[in-house]
């Protein structure tokens, strides 16, 4: 450190000393991040390198020499790359259709692309089995094929594309919306053909968004656990499932840990590229007011083509949800389709504990996670203190760390003193709070960047101290964003499985884990009924939060409701 840098951090430390409340909050947050994010991660890495008290690469040598485990690594990377490309492609198609192509039924297309985001991520896999599996509606009931090879690459590929394209859609819609259509008009006006304008203007401007979407999809697919557990099978092993099976099936913690470390490396690499490189390349359109384009970049023939493609995807997604609903109501899926409520009766009878537990855990962890996210966003954006960069990096790291890794980390870190938490509600809550804190941070950062710091300064100038400024000025302004952020955190908590599956116990169980168990024991009807209830709870929660926000903040007009 140079003298000046030392001088700067001395200044920061002086400021902390002068504001003991800030100092306390900073210290508490840093400590919590270290204990509940870094410590479990370190535990995983250490166990894989030091299985029996001495440092060795033996475990990794064992993994690399095992063709089956190595295959899992290759498959995971392959699936991640393909999903990144295909999912981003479909996402771009939808985003382009909605923002540029002026196709009919835009609102419906938008809704269809949103539904998978607010559903459990393995609903696609469940539906694919119900449609194409051994007793599949299409493969067996319609086509009379026995043992259609849906397990493995094909089935998983379809499930992952359907599950993750909405993430790409949301990113790219924002990107395309921010590209001023008059730029395209200008290029057309200069004499470019439509295709040339798309290739030379629209696409290059959207490129950073496309790259960012691909990296995010790669990370999410790599980390995904639900779909591969249902669909991958033994012919197409996937790393996250292998790590889980090593631990729960063979009680081999070091190998499971080593596999999850293999998962961690590409995932964190992609995240660092996304965060520190791609996201800096974003173009900013340098114009004032948004303008409406008079000339559309899409010709009628191309518009029909785009619309047809979107319709096909839409039909498939509707088919998925229809089959889940139907499966929940059919007596025995594939052989006896008489409607019955007995699966729902099961969910509300024997299975109701899981529903209650899930609601308790999501209901407790979501507000806490959202609040922590807001506090971290506030500290990182508005305050300067030693460890600010560390706080930002660590708290966002959860996004890059596959759930499998963090789940294994938690059982390693918290099954021995000083913190024995395995089997408790607390371990699930802590896991959820710290795992979904990036959601809260992102919405907090977005809103704080929109709020002029002068507004907070004005309060200080009028005589408010730090606490009053936060509670009377900052907090009321960010509350709507806090609740919007809660929606996504709640969805994530309700649908979480990859980390949670390591942490559930007979005392505390989750609906997602229940669904998995039902699928594994072949009770597709019960799994479908659980899924329907889960989706309904999520929709209900979203509707409730929206209504509350509108009732509470509607009178502030647009400026407070935009988020």
């Amino acid at each position: 450190m140079t003298d000046r840098a030392i001088g700067a951090s001395l200044g920061e430390i002086r400021r902390l000393v002068r504001d003991p409340l800030l100092a306390f909050v900073v210290a508490a947050v840093l400590a919590a991040l270290a204990v509940f994010i870094l410590y479990p991660l370190a535990s995983v890495i250490i166990v894989s390198l030091r299985p029996d008290g001495r440092w060795t690469l033996e475990i990794f040598r064992h993994v690399v020499s095992n063709p089956y485990l190595l295959q899992g690594f290759r498959n995971s990377i392959l699936m991640g790359v393909l999903t990144a490309v295909i999912g981003t492609g479909i996402g771009f198609l939808f985003a382009f259709a909605v923002t540029r192509a002026d196709v009919p039924f835009k609102r419906i297309l938008h809704a269809v692309a949103i539904i998978p985001i607010v559903s459990p991520p393995f609903i696609g896999a469940l539906a694919i089995i119900m449609l194409f599996g051994n007793n599949g509606f299409i493969t067996w009931n319609l086509l009379r094929i026995r043992n259609f090879p849906i397990y493995g690459f094909t089935g998983l590929m379809i499930a992952q594309a359907v599950t993750f394209f909405p993430v790409a859609y949301l990113t790219l819609r924002g990107v395309l919306e921010s590209i001023n259509p008059t730029l395209e008009d200008a290029a057309l006006d200069l004499g470019g053909s439509r295709f040339r304008v798309f290739r030379r203007v629209t696409l290059p401007l959207a490129m950073p968004g496309i790259a960012s979407s691909m990296l995010v999809l790669f990370i999410e697919t790599l980390a995904d656990f639900g779909n591969p557990l249902i669909l991958a099978g033994s012919r197409f092993p996937i790393l996250s499932v292998q790590a889980y099976l090593q631990i729960t099936g063979m009680y081999d913690l070091p190998t499971g840990a080593a596999l999850s470390v293999l998962l961690l490396v590409p995932s964190v690499t992609a995240w660092v590229i996304q965060k520190y490189w791609v996201s800096r390349k974003r173009y900013v359109t340098i114009t004032g007011k948004p303008t409406i384009s008079s000339v559309k970049i899409v010709s009628p023939a191309v518009r029909s083509l785009i619309f047809a493609a979107c319709l096909a995807v839409t039909a498939f997604i509707l088919l998925i949800y229809a089959s889940i609903l139907w499966g929940a109501l059919a007596k025995v899926w594939g052989s006896d389709n008489t409607p019955t409520l007995r699966h729902f009766l099961y969910v509300f009878g024997v299975g109701f504990k899981a529903v209650r537990d899930t609601l308790t855990i999501a209901g407790l962890s979501t507000p806490a996670s959202g609040l922590l996210g807001m506090v971290i966003a506030f500290l990182v954006i508005r305050k300067s203190f030693p460890g600010r960069k560390f706080m930002e990096f660590t708290s966002m790291l959860s996004f890059a760390v596959p759930g499998t890794v963090i789940g294994i980390g938690y059982i390693l870190a918290f099954n021995k003193p000083p913190l024995v938490l395995t089997g408790t509600l607390l371990i699930l809550l802590l896991n959820f709070v710290f795992r979904y804190v990036p959601v809260g941070i992102e919405s907090g950062v977005a809103i704080l960047q929109q709020i002029d710091p002068a507004i907070e300064e004005a309060a200080v100038d009028l005589g408010a101290d730090a606490r009053t400024t936060f509670s009377r000025v900052t907090l009321p302004m960010i509350v709507p964003a806090y609740f919007s952020g809660l929606v996504f955190a709640f969805v994530r908590a309700m649908t979480a499985i990859s980390a949670a599956i390591f942490l559930v116990s007979s005392r505390w169980n989750l609906m997602t884990v229940q669904i998995m168990a039902q699928v594994e024991s072949g009770r597709l009807g019960a799994a479908a009924a659980f899924s329907v209830i889960l989706v309904l709870i999520i929709f209900g929660a979203i509707f409730l939060i929206r209504a509350l926000l509108k009732a509470r903040y509607g009178r502030y007009g647009g400026s407070m409701l935009k988020f």
Binding site: A8, A458, D461, G463, A464, Y556, G557
Partner: protein
């Protein structure tokens, strides 16, 4: 209540610069008297806003001391200082009504509700905001928001009122109106005020005194008359209004001012400022409106002759650019063209000026 800055400097770390830091405010000395309206004027990046933020407490000076009412306030946070700021972006609280915004300062001081309500009503009445009391900020026009920001700042009866380019977001007409409004409010409350702007007309209209800044340093402190007609150096002369510079040599001082050689003609400037040596070089500054133009007569020995290069007729005045064979065209303005008549492009003119309108300066732009 007075404000005093004693050799105040502010150094920001800036890794992008080779020296690793930038001096935003450089040894600024300033004394603002009770009830006075002082403007910090300068181009962007001259350190005026940083100086204001040091007075308000949002920035700590790297060196030097700040005194408010004789008390050293370096270590006082902004919420403990008896200053109120009107922000460039107004910084109206978006989740509070006009009334709540205006009354917030008193509320923070823990005043009884009735008193807050009464005082808020009184201030809103003075500011013409009564009809808007229940409105939300996003239902206000720019000028109304400006009024709310001002009302919110004066309600605390601060010792010092600080303005950070408060009019820069308003359109021209509203700006003229708010300028007078601000001056009226300031005078009726008698609050010591410090105002930051880069607009010289704004500074001339509202201020008792103007502080001209450049590169973090104070170039001149003076009344509007002084900074315009008796600038301290070439930077001030050039920054405030338009000006012609005539480089002269062989200066000599007398009762009437300064005499010096300009291209073989002895000319006289009625006043001078800065470091000019007997027998040395200087620059004579003459404002365009002080130059007299006459038709070229051929015989009369004027100090400069030229030809009209551009003539812009603006109704009340005519603006000329005259090619006199110098590096830059000479600027001149003549008033009341209906009575005085005006020249056309190509006409030959001879130029003169009364010594009282000429001001001699040291040849360097900035000391």
């Amino acid at each position: 209540m007075s404000v005093r800055l004693d050799k105040v400097s502010k150094v920001f770390l800036d890794p992008s610069r080779p020296e690793g830091s930038v001096t935003a405010v450089d040894r600024v000395d300033l004394e603002v008297r009770e009830g006075e309206f002082v403007t910090l004027l300068g181009p962007s990046g001259c350190g005026k806003t940083t100086t204001l933020r040091i007075i308000s407490g949002f920035e700590a000076p790297t060196r030097g001391d700040v005194f408010i009412s004789g008390e050293r306030v370096n270590d006082q946070p902004p919420n403990k200082r008896d200053t109120s700021m009107v922000f460039q972006s107004y910084a109206i609280f978006p989740h509070m009504s006009v009334e709540q915004n205006v009354g917030f300062g008193l509320e923070l001081k823990g005043r009884p509700k009735a008193e807050v309500r009464e005082e808020t009503a009184r201030i809103m009445n003075v500011m013409g905001l009564t009809a808007l009391a229940k409105r939300r900020p996003d239902q206000l026009s720019g000028g109304q928001q400006q009024r709310v920001a001002l009302a919110r700042a004066v309600i605390n009866k601060p010792s010092v009122l600080l303005f950070d380019e408060p009019l820069s977001n308003l359109d021209a007409k509203l700006r003229d109106q708010m300028r007078l409004e601000i001056r009226r409010i300031q005078q009726s409350f008698g609050i010591t005020s410090i105002y930051v702007t880069h607009d010289q007309i704004e500074a001339m209209t509202v201020s008792d005194r103007i502080v001209v800044m450049e590169g973090g340093r104070v170039m001149q402190i003076g009344t509007p008359f002084e900074v315009y007609s008796r600038p301290a150096n070439r930077f001030v002369a050039d920054f405030i209004g338009r000006v012609n510079f005539f480089p002269v040599t062989d200066a000599s001082f007398s009762e009437e001012g300064l005499d010096a050689d300009y291209r073989g003609v002895r000319i006289r400037a009625g006043s001078r400022n800065g470091d000019i040596r007997e027998g040395g070089a200087a620059v004579v500054a003459v404002r365009p409106e002080s130059l007299r133009l006459e038709p070229e007569s051929g015989s009369a020995a004027r100090f400069l002759r030229g030809r009209i290069d551009k003539a812009v007729y603006l109704g009340a005045v005519v603006e000329y650019e005259i090619d006199a064979g110098l590096d830059r065209p000479v600027m001149a303005v003549s008033h009341d063209p209906v009575v005085a008549g005006f020249f056309r492009v190509g006409d030959g003119v001879s130029l003169s000026f009364p010594p009282a309108a000429a001001h001699a300066l040291a040849p360097e732009a900035v000391p």
